[in-house]
Amino acid sequence: MRIQVRRTGGFAGIERRAEVDTSGRPDAAEWQALAERVLASGRGTPPAGVPDGFRYEITVDGRTVYAADPRLTEEQRQLVSRVLKEGA
């Protein structure tokens, strides 16, 4: 499973991207479960968000959902921060 996160906006207006390929990872099952929960509860169009708030595109094997600060679900928050921290 390929999990990609693109974060745009923010005060700085600087984009960040990262991705994690779960295949071969010892914690692949955990990643997949989290990603599936995010897909299931995610929305297919970008929310309005707030000025300077981060906006996120989360793509899992080609399916994209959108989210924006400060109203991420707990699963979205976890996935986004893990991908941006651990992904390449």
Partner: protein, 353 residues
Amino acid sequence: MTTNGGSEPVFCTIVPPHVLDRLAQHEDDAIAGPARRTLEQDALHRTRRRITAVRGAAAPSGTPSDKPDRTIYDAEGAETLPGKKVHAENDQPAQDATVNRAHAGLGATFELYLKAYNRHSIDDAGLPLIATVHYGEKYDNAFWNGEQMVFGDGDGELFLDFTIPVDVIGHELTHGVTQYTANLEYYGQSGALNESVSDVFGTLIKQYALGQTADQADWLIGAGLLGPNVHGEALRSMKAPGTAYDDPNLGKDPQPATMEHYVRTSRDNGGVHINSGIPNHAFYLVATALGGNAWERAGQIWYNVLTGGDLKPEAQFADFATLTVKAARERYGAGDEIQAVQKAWAQVGVPAT
């Protein structure tokens, strides 16, 4: 390519308030957001009408206070708002420097708006100022969520604590002022104007606090925010857009200074943090041409446009430029001010008819 926040619906005031109330609670932000903004605008218009009505009568009791009412909360690394209350208006300085900087920055913002423009807080009706610090873990951002300020600590390498630059605090709170006034749509040119107005008053708040004239100011946005190893002095430069940073991790400052280099993109809400360089530079040119304190004449003209009621939410650069010419004429007549304004917009390539 998909973009964010672009064509969300706008609700006319013909929608009954109770319907808007229900829509504003909707889980879908695309529906809740416009409804909420409409309600906020409606409340503002009602306030304006009330103020107009009150002004006629001799009843000063409704005048908002000349003192800010600030409360600081600590999210303690979570992303829950508002968090734990840690500081009230009349408390002694806290142990935590971040709390004290947030308190001071809210105060500096309140002070400029009051002293320079006789505006009483964000809504001109004495809105209490609320901020949450230590939001999230290594969170690289600060924002106004429509009701309060939110500050991250930064990751410590690329970005430091977002309470450090007072212009960042002023920038974010000015998003609140814009929300209560022109309510510029956060997309494309109107979005870049929204961003630019926040940079303009953000830097004016810093200049006022430091007592700097236009030629003494650095005209940088976010100086002191970048980590020590980052190649850059700030996030944006109003004096020389496009030159604030050039770093292997952050990339290069993408801002244009003139329409010739306007960036057409669907990213960043249609380049709101990119093309804001153009109106930013126009303001810098006006302020430095006039000299002295930038918050006085240049700032007054921009403030009058933002709050005057003629600036539409979907305004483009040329609409804004035209209104600055009108505001300069109305306030200062035929003189240096109107000439400086016309010349500045011509220099950045925006028609101001």
